[in-house]
């Protein structure tokens, strides 16, 4: 089987990699590009641990074929925040103790950023429905929602 050569902009960097036609974007990110911040929880688009943005749209990377991202822009958790300064969303997750085991956290950070770019002032209900695709088994979501609402308010203040 011939591998495909893919060129994509990932977190702002132009990256090239090879993939099988059947490889998912999740597999290529983790196994070819070393971006293991994106997690696999289910492989079927049900848990959101592999959330990334594809040309600005929030997707489950386990449901995207790697060949589909040729020429596209992909954003992962590794692209959020500056080397010496966390993004407000990341900071608020820490301050609110909005993570326990942390496996869902990268996906939730990516999804929350997408939420707040679409809707800078979500209601609690809007936040809960937007993030309904990101499963967390540890927290009961209470502190996640508090972190998201606080991040939204802080980001609005800074804008």
């Amino acid at each position: 089987m011939t591998k495909s050569h893919i060129t994509a902009t990932i977190n702002g960097d132009v990256r090239e990699f090879l993939c099988e036609p059947s490889d998912t974007l999740l597999q290529s990110l983790r196994d070819e590009l070393g971006l293991t911040g994106t997690k696999e929880g289910c492989g079927s688009g049900d848990c959101g641990a592999c959330s990334v943005t594809l040309n600005g749209r929030l997707v489950c990377s386990c449901l995207v074929l790697a060949v589909e991202v040729d020429g596209a822009e992909v954003g992962t958790v590794e692209g959020i925040g500056e080397p010496d300064k966390l993004h407000v969303i990341q900071q608020k997750f820490l301050e609110h103790a909005a993570l326990q085991c942390g496996i869902c956290t990268p996906g939730l950070i990516v999804s929350t950023k997408a939420l707040l770019e679409e809707n800078p002032a979500p209601t609690e209900e809007e936040a809960r429905y937007y993030l309904a695709g990101n499963l967390c088994r540890c927290t009961g979501y209470d502190k996640i929602i508090k972190a998201v609402m606080d991040a939204a308010e802080t980001m609005r203040g800074a804008a």
């Binding site: 099988e20 059947s22 983790r30 196994d31 971006l35 293991t36 911040g37 994106t38 997690k39 696999e40 929880g41 289910c42 492989g43 079927s44 049900d46 848990c47 641990a49 992962t76 958790v77 590794e78 959020i80 925040g81 966390l86 990341q90 997750f93 820490l94 301050e95 609110h96 103790a97 993570l99 326990q100 085991c101 942390g102 496996i103 869902c104 956290t105 990268p106 950070i109 609690e124 209900e125 936040a127 809960r128 429905y129 993030l131 309904a132 695709g133 990101n134 499963l135 967390c136 088994r137 540890c138 927290t139 009961g140 979501y141 209470d142 502190k143 996640i144 929602i145």
Partner: protein, 737 residues
């Protein structure tokens, strides 16, 4: 109740030390490690719930060019180990998804393709899928040699009941004779899964010199070492297990599934091997929590005094005798009640399901659900408020438990009072809404913990602890060390070294870590205080008794002089070498904790769907070291319990095949399913711990079952007795009423 103490460092809401790596994606979990030369393995699993394995032919798989090793049961070095048949099935496939063979190949896809070429000749047998089926007179036998243990007279013929146990205090017959009202009901709970988001995975390497390493996600890396070493006949010194960050466990990662197989494949192939379960494998072959059928009988006088409590519990253990958490189920069921006459009988029953694993307060949610549902019904029958009824009969200091000890100071009464005073309990309900209250009890155990604190030359300290951190415990270890040494929390880092760099520590489970490992940290920190005094004394040429350690500074009380930790550590080479504090302990006692939850639920009577509209979780923490993460445990436990009560269940078809092995159909609570969860921390110090800590992780999953069960029952005016209260079940009850 002990006097409240002022603490300087514990009780703060600090930023957890591992948090930065987790919000940036840098933290490494089980599936995140790749080694040079690594190959991938996959597991062939039984397509049948119950089948005899006549033969396995792996030759076609082995002939594939990319396949580097294949293993079946015969490749397990220690065939006599009872755990071997759940790593790879031997004569029988005992559940849908039971591991049959493993293949390691150059790519994951090649390993997957090779599985399809393994030929297994099965003789399909009738599956036993319920307690009723298992205990029926004509039931087929899962194990032909299983004789029930614990019967008054030992049976002469085998059955599917592996053991019976009973506990008694007082005289229940006399107690029931005193009662004015006696209620008796049966309750059922389904097979559920812990539902951690991270699938089981490991990367392993077997070296030619016999040294091996395992990188995996586990609640207990010493358990992984012991189990794997036993199956492969290795010495512990030749097997190093590294606990990766762990993406949830809830008891389900106390068990070893993949690591011995991966190491066998690594040995055969000469290459590092990685295995990662797919989500459907996680559902089929790991966990689950025990399904149960529980009968409870309670009697009370008209004035609300409970006179007798009796239960008969039946727990599924999967296909592996004795795996059910029956003991804790029996021990916990009546602990919230100070009632002189209590009797419990329990049965462990085998069925053709995966081997039952611990699930957060293992065994307690199921039995306490039955008790608490009946308590609520009895309160209604007597016309007494359910919280007042509990207060009137509440366990407290000196209550004789059914399972053994008398309770020390505990916080049930305080939790009940907090519930009664909560905003939620005072709020009004509307149409189609119901309210349920439940208490819950869990032991919170002690056990063996090993801690080393290495003081660095600059006066900072590195805490090494043997307990994998599943929910933020590294933060609490830093804070406890800081408190004991009276030095700022960020002076300390906390890490969990591999099994070669710290002595054995028991598994992170039983809510033991902050209690027992925390106690070991305090002991190690106290050891450092002693050494600081000795070193400062040496510098000052006085005795250690003439040195005081106060506010993080050594003070010469017989003359002038102060030394900071940094000064003492910088001089340590000249005063006897570097300073290490040791805390290798077996923590005695436990941290019994009680919780009280209130659920308000609205039921859509057209669809049967239940929505939790308000929820309050109250629990005694003893002392909350990090209140944010204590609240998080209460809220997370509540959410899991709500899922258990309202939606979650394994669905098997008539052939015993699991039909919902994925998060779409095994539906755990989503953000959009839940309200904010009000967490209220009660603090009645635990006399066994220097700071009064009780474990906090598990108790919170117990009360939601009966709180939600009662709330739904009240909302629809029908007493429901089987979980989950999923829309179809609730709608059926409404339509049949």
């Amino acid at each position: 109740m002990s006097e409240a103490q002022d603490y300087k460092y514990i009780g703060q809401r600090t930023i957890r030390p591992d948090g930065y790596d987790k919000v940036t994606g840098r933290a490494n979990y089980a599936a995140d490690l790749a080694l040079p030369g690594m190959i991938w393995a996959k597991v062939l699993r039984s397509p049948h719930a119950h089948a005899r394995i006549r033969s396995i032919d792996t030759s076609k798989a082995e002939a594939l060019p990319d396949v580097m090793a294949v293993a079946t049961h015969v490749d397990i070095p220690n065939q006599a180990n009872p755990g071997a048949i759940n790593i790879l099935a031997k004569d029988k496939a005992l559940y849908h998804g039971h591991a049959i063979a493993g293949v390691a190949a150059k790519t994951e896809a090649a390993a997957e393709a090779a599985l399809a070429l393994i030929e297994v000749d099965y003789e399909v047998l009738p599956p036993i899928m319920s307690i009723e089926d298992a205990m029926a007179d004509s039931a087929a036998l899962i194990h032909e040699d299983l004789i029930t243990k614990g019967m008054a007279e030992q049976p002469t013929s085998p059955s599917n009941v592996s053991s019976r146990m009973e506990m008694n205090k007082g005289d229940v017959a006399a107690g029931f004779a005193e009662a004015d009202v006696i209620l008796e009901r049966e309750f059922r709970t389904p097979t559920v899964h812990q539902g951690y988001i991270e699938p089981h995975a490991c990367t392993v390497r077997f070296d030619e010199d016999g040294q091996s390493m395992i990188w995996c996600s586990t609640q207990g890396h010493f358990g992984v070492r012991a189990t794997t070493a036993a199956l492969l006949n290795l010495e512990h010194s030749k097997l190093k297990v590294i606990a990766s960050e762990i993406g949830g466990g809830f008891g389900g990662k106390t068990v070893v599934y993949l690591e011995p197989l991966a190491l066998i494949l690594s040995k055969k192939s000469g290459r590092p091997v990685k295995i990662q379960m797919d989500r459907d494998e996680v559902f089929k072959a790991s966990g689950p929590g025990s399904a149960t059928r529980n009968k409870v009988k309670i009697g009370a006088k008209k004035d609300g005094t409970i006179t007798a409590m009796e239960a008969h519990l039946y727990y599924e253990s999967g296909a592996f005798p004795g795996a059910a958490p029956l003991g804790p189920g029996c021990m916990t069921i009546f602990t919230p009640y100070d009632v002189p006459n209590q009797y419990v009988e329990g049965f462990d029953v085998v069925v053709n399901k995966a081997k039952v694993a611990a699930y957060r307060a293992p065994g307690a949610p199921q039995s306490e659900y039955a008790c608490e549902m009946l308590i609520n019904e009895l309160a209604d029958e007597l016309g007494i408020d359910p919280i007042d009824f509990r207060l009137q009969n509440a366990a407290k200091e000196d209550t004789q438990t059914l399972y053994g000890p008398k309770l020390k100071a505990v916080g049930l009464v305080e939790c009940l009072e907090a519930a009664k005073n909560s905003a939620q309990y005072k709020s009004a309900l509307e149409k189609n809404q119901g309210r349920g209250v439940s208490s819950g009890f869990w032991f919170n155990i002690g056990g063996v913990s090993s801690v080393i604190i290495n003081m660095n030359e600059d006066g900072t300290g590195t805490i090494l602890e043997g307990s994998p951190d599943i929910g933020g415990s590294r933060a609490s270890m830093q804070m406890m060390a800081a408190e004991e040494l009276q030095m700022p929390t960020d002076t300390f880092s906390a890490i969990i070294p591999d099994t070669a760099h710290i002595a054995h520590s028991d598994t992170t489970g039983g809510s033991r870590t902050t209690f027992a490992t925390g106690m070991a940290v305090v002991e190690a920190a106290a050891d450092i205080v002693t050494q600081f005094k000795e070193r400062a004394a040496a510098v000052w040429n006085v005795t250690p008794e003439q040195v005081e350690w106060k506010d993080g500074v050594a003070i010469n009380i017989s003359g002038d002089g102060k030394m900071t930790a940094a000064e003492i550590c910088a001089a340590a080479g000249r005063t006897g070498g570097q300073i290490t504090g040791l805390g290798n302990i077996n923590a005695r006692g436990a941290g019994p904790s009680f919780a009280v939850h209130i659920a308000d639920i609205e039921v859509d009577t057209d669809t049967g769907k239940s929505d939790v509209i308000r929820y309050t979780a109250i629990q005694d923490a003893g002392k909350a070291i990090h209140p944010g993460y204590v609240e998080g445990q209460y809220q997370g436990g509540a959410a899991q319990g709500i899922g258990w009560a309202l939606n979650e269940e394994y669905i098997f078809n008539k052939d015993g095949l699991l039909e919902n092995p994925g998060f779409l159909d095994y539906r755990i609570p989503l953000a959009s399913d839940l309200p904010m969860i009000e967490a209220i921390i009660v603090e009645v110090p635990n006399s066994f711990h220097p700071f009064g800590v009780r474990g906090v992780g598990e108790t919170g999953i117990i009360p939601p079952l009966a709180a939600c069960g009662t709330a739904v029952s009240k909302a629809i005016g029908i007493r429901m007795s089987e979980l989950p209260l999923s829309p179809p079940r609730v709608l059926k009850a409404i339509l049949e009423a």
